[in-house]
Amino acid sequence: MMQQISILLVVLPLLAAPITALVRGKNLAWLITFVLTVVCFGISLWILMDVTTGRVIHYELGGWQPPWGIVYTIDSLNALVALIVSGIAAATMLYAPRSVEKEIPDHLIPMFYAMFQLCLLGLLGIALTGDVFNLFVFLEISSLSSYALISLGKNRKALFASFNYLILGTIGATFFLLGVGMLYAASGSLNMADIQTRFAEFENLQLVSTALMFIVVGIALKAAVFPLHSWLPASYSYAPSTVSIFLAATATKVAVYALIRCLFDVFPMQYWLEMLPTIMITLGSVAVIYGSVRAIQQTGMRRLLAYSSVAQIGYMIIGIGLINESGMTSTLLHLFNHALMKAALFMVAGIYLLRANSTELDDLYGLGKDMPYAFSAMVIAGLSLIGVPGTVGFISKWYLLEGAMQTDHWGVVIVILVGSILAIAYVWKLVEALYFAAPQKPRVQNVDSGSDTIAKSPMLMLVATWLIVIANIYFGIDTELSLGAASDAVRSLLGTGA
């Protein structure tokens, strides 16, 4: 029973997307998407509850046995990632109607929602599959739909950003495909578990190490790991706000998940232990510093947040590179926590975009005083980004510090501290602009439809934002769900205690 329900996470979006594309009327299209995302959220929560008891769900598509057929293997890690994706999708959809209405031309709205569902389908598919080629297919489904979604941004720069993302994303995917091909040539199998169990038979082949390199570089491009991040800031800052919320909170996280899955469950850990961890820690540290410094230099709110994402991905990569229980736990927790804080921050940016028609900081001077609810949500999410105790950001940073100290990586400890100070600087830059600066330009106080003043935030958008903000605080205090799933997953990844 549980098995049949788990596949619904992929089947439901597949059924709903073509129906939504045919629907006329934006409200119906939104309703279908909203119900779909809530159902997916419910299912993935249920699956997570089920697998944290230590059970692993196997689902053979078409009844074909592995290693011949495609199999979905769901353990705590898969379930956690699926929960992040569907949860953020549900919150985004609650937030969406007003902002989509404003940013997308009316006749394209049903198609927009259909595309959103396809993107959700791709991301959930990556999270569930246990087959490397299937992973490539889902990666491309999610990427192709996100190119289209990003290009719908109002500014013409969105088109160019989307084109650059398309070129780089396709190079990444093709590298991944090439790596999978080499792995297939060496092993004759595409099933992750099967490759790992028979790894000793072919581990000395040169082909396998080449395959590892291609796969790691390919996924790192999708995950925007430091030197390969150049597509990210432009894409996230010009996309429609609904899209930037969803993608910033999930797309790179899912790619980081794919990296973890390939490194630990396709190639055995011993195989790359000598080479990769140092590279990862170095690149991660550079990413933290570089991303934070560039974030401070930005003058646009969404661009600032996008560069901060580059820095946060750095923390995750450091966590993987530390190769110990605390480091890995912090990476998995940060997948979850960063999704929460970035979703909240981009949601606030979306509210300002809706009201002030801009997210450039000098257009927003002083708006925080007029919109106290949105502004305070931003402050709390910003504190979480810095890592103040009582918020989710603190938990993952704490584990990362612990992991770094256990392995005597004192450089990493310094990087984390400097990164946090820089984070204070860029969050303060937002607070200062929104609250303390006096408005520079005269602002039109009434929007087109009568009594609505510019400073009034739409109800649904505020509700969605505050739900996420409350989750930011709640999971910072009661860590049972996220920490339980993360440490469970880490134990099975590192093979320490079953």
Binding site: I7, V11, L14, L15, P18, A21, Y59, E60, G62, G63
Partner: protein, 140 residues
Amino acid sequence: MQDKLILRVVAKWLIPVIILFAFYVQFHGDYSPGGGFQAGVIFSSAFLLYSLVYGLESAIKVLPDHWLKVAACFGVLLYAGVGVVAMLMGGNFLDYSALASEPVAGQHIGIILIELGVGITVGSVMLLIFFTFARRVLPK
């Protein structure tokens, strides 16, 4: 190109043959090389030829955009629907053996329906891509 007599006559003879070949590739696909992807592309190429020779407008009259969109979505739904029916009949998603009382018969039904869905979607999407591009780029 409406005034090129040879093109018009040859295309008139060629188009039915191409469509027939597409159907052959589609429905003989479970015994020999072929299947929905190839058949869909071949099928759409017949209409591409038609619109190149007789003009875009007349091709759109034959296959209006809206119906192509419906067909593309219907193909995906057929694909997913077969999978769901298999689930309802007690198998896994896309487990064709569960579709009929005998596994072999079930496999045949399943693969023909699935490939039909793929063929319809691929054919109509190829045409949609062509029409959309052609209308956007051609001077009005």
